[in-house]
Amino acid sequence: MSVQATPLLQVSNLHIDYHSAQGDVPGVTGISFELHAGEVLAIVGESGSGKSTTAAALVGLLAESARVRGGSIRLDGRELLGLGERQWQQVRGVRIGFVPQDPGLSLDPVKRVGAQLVEAMTVHGLPRAVARDRSLGLLREVGLPAVEQLARRYPHELSGGMRQRVLVAMGLANRPALVIADEPTSALDVNVQRQVLDCLQGLAQERQAAVILITHDLDVALQRADRVLVMHRGRVVESGAAAQVLRQPRHAYTRALLAAAPSAQAACVRQRSPAQWALAPILEVSGLHKSFATWRQPGPPAVDDVSFEVPRGGTTSLVGASGSGKSTTARLLLGLERADGGSVRFNGRELLGASRRDWRELRRQIQVVYQNPYASLNPRLSLAQIISEPLQAFAVGTAATRRQRVADLLAQVHVPATLIDNRPDSLSGGQRQRVAIARALALEPELVVLDEPLSALDVLVQQQILELLDELQQRLGLSYLFISHDLAVVRRISDRVVVMQGGRVVEQGVCEEVFSRPVHGFTQGLLGAAVGVPQL
């Protein structure tokens, strides 16, 4: 593709803060990049990295509390920062097209899809009749079928992939020179992702538009973009040609991202000796069954004939997409839901049908760590109160000895003891999760159920927590039931892997077996979709 002399978009030294009652929180600091017509630039980062702030700044839709402290954004030589609202209305949708992500609500739910597409054009002066014709053409171009009927539908009647394609059509309707796509594929499954990205790239190339692709998925970025910008905590930590970034990442964060990508073909890490395998499993599940269907709301069972085991002192991972039944399985094992059938043996003892009193005792041995460290700790209590709560519930020791134990636990999870009387809101996400782990360890359990414990944390912090979990397992002889949808994490921590789909176990076995020789179609799909980083 030809690279013109003058860049279409020039961002220099952009500096944006968010003003709040507690002071100023930095949004982006010192961002600079350029974009030429016909180029595809990917901005990669996790939540909190500043990529959404950058995107918002480019269309003049920053939040009320945002303050631009410095820098400039030039489109075709014209300065965009400081434009009035009326002037922005002549830029948005016409010179800069925006394709938002669709968590289900990027289209007005009470207006028909076709009408919304037509509106994107009529609002910039196109006569209605012309706009209507063009809208049908656009819908065809993005690969949607039966466009006349589809245009008369409401957004909730379309699938996520179709809605996303309508949003692509809307973004490109007026042939803008620059298209910004904000996470256009995050809520979609792998095949649909490919379709949407293909149509976006196709349309853009045809019109020689420049594309900024914002994503948290490094694989997508490396596959589709010419250049990649990696952002972390409001700064650009890496930028360069896609191939360059892939082969020679300079920053630790980029390396961590690459390692965490599902396509990274790391081997299963865990080793277990034959003596360890010979031990009786700590948890044996067979034929577990649970259905939430009622005569008013029929549906398939949430957990259907699920069987697996957790090795003593080892880790079993439950893998699957959301809705696969893994969280429900965990809740059944913890006694938080009542199972409809099957058997669960913990240390040889049957759990299903245990009374509430039995469960009180069992809670000393089976504990849980939740996914969201921001929600699993009571914001009103201090760390000391939170961690000592299980000790108090069993009247273990005196207040003084409990406090000592809390201090010990904090040391075990590497949280500074000075924070013992603080409230959770003064801690970072990673620290909060450590506190949650400390609470789970308070009663010295044998089995810990971890329900997606890393999903809310960024990639670097994830690694640290994984190391902590490893360390604790070795030292305390814990067994883990680890629930996750993230294959890279699962590879790292599991001895056994159980793959679930639609409430059933579709595949299970030793970690290495499942990952290198998957038998079931779904597992193959999961692993195969992850393959595909082009060897540039």
Binding site: L336, S376, L377, R380, P390, A393
Partner: protein, 266 residues
């Protein structure tokens, strides 16, 4: 600016409470004894709110009326609050048929406007300040019960409450330590709001003639009496009514300030 309004609101409420508890401190005229020659005089230096048809000082009557009206209001709110909390916690935390039954009852109670319910209760209890308080209180229980139940349900399924259960903390301890503290805020805000509504309901019922009989100076009754002299004596209906409006506005202002403060833990 908002600060100023809040301060003003608290000042008004404190004044009203002062009138209720120590009326003699705020007014030296006799609320029940009138000087007939001074009947229906416009507000002036001697009579701040003017006089009524019997020559009684209207300001004094309003001050003494505060005691009756506010006592009834407070009683009503306390009845509704206590019953509502108990019902809401039982319903929200334990669920099951208890919850289903209670919620059906609450739904029915919301199908009939509170004023009409209160009027039905008055019909069988008879008139008087205490009876008005009971009636208004009972008609407001549903509103509290629904809020408390909703909040209890909301916090019951929150992750940290479930985490506490998973740590084997006993149910009543979970309620006291984890669920009630976040519920207290919204309940207090609703109480302030319902205080305003109760003042309106109590004064409306006494306006309609269901409260204490004359010569007791209930606020609503004062306005009703003034109605007969509306054409010539604007102060008779205007000023006591203004006091009612001011108290309700102040209570609502306080309620909004309380609600705003809760943004912290949501």
């Amino acid at each position: 600016m908002k600060r100023l309004f809040l301060v003003l609101a608290i000042a008004i409420l404190l004044t009203a409470v002062g009138w209720a508890l120590w009326p003699g401190l705020f007014s030296h005229a006799d609320p029940l004894l009138g000087v007939p020659t001074q009947a229906l005089q416009a507000p002036g230096a001697q009579h701040w709110f003017g006089t009524d048809q019997l020559g009684r000082d209207l300001y004094s009557r309003t001050v003494y009326g505060a005691g009756l009206s506010l006592r009834a209001t407070l009683l009503a709110v306390l009845i509704a609050l206590a019953s509502g909390i108990v019902l809401g916690v039982l319903s929200g935390f334990f669920g099951g048929w208890l919850d289903a039954g209670l919620m059906r009852l609450v739904e029915v109670l919301m199908a009939v406007p509170a004023l009409l319910l209160a009027m039905a209760v008055i019909t069988v209890l008879g008139f008087g300040t205490l009876n008005i308080a009971l009636a208004v209180g009972l008609s407001a229980v549903a509103s509290f019960a629904r809020l408390v139940r909703g909040e209890v349900l909301r916090w019951r399924v929150s992750t940290f409450v479930e985490a506490a259960s998973a740590c084997a903390v006993r149910p009543w301890t979970v309620i006291a330590r984890h669920i009630l503290p976040p519920v207290a805020g919204p309940v207090l805000a609703l109480a302030a709001l319902e205080f305003g509504s109760a003042v309106l309901a109590v004064s409306a019922l006494s306006f309609l003639g269901f409260g204490a009989p004359p010569p007791q100076p209930e606020w609503g009754l004062l306005v009703a009496e003034g109605r007969n002299y509306m054409v010539t004596a604007w102060w008779y209906t205007g000023l006591p009514g203004l006091v009612v409006a001011a108290v309700v506005i102040a209570a609502n202002q306080l309620a909004r300030a309380l609600q705003a403060r809760q943004g912290v833990y949501r």
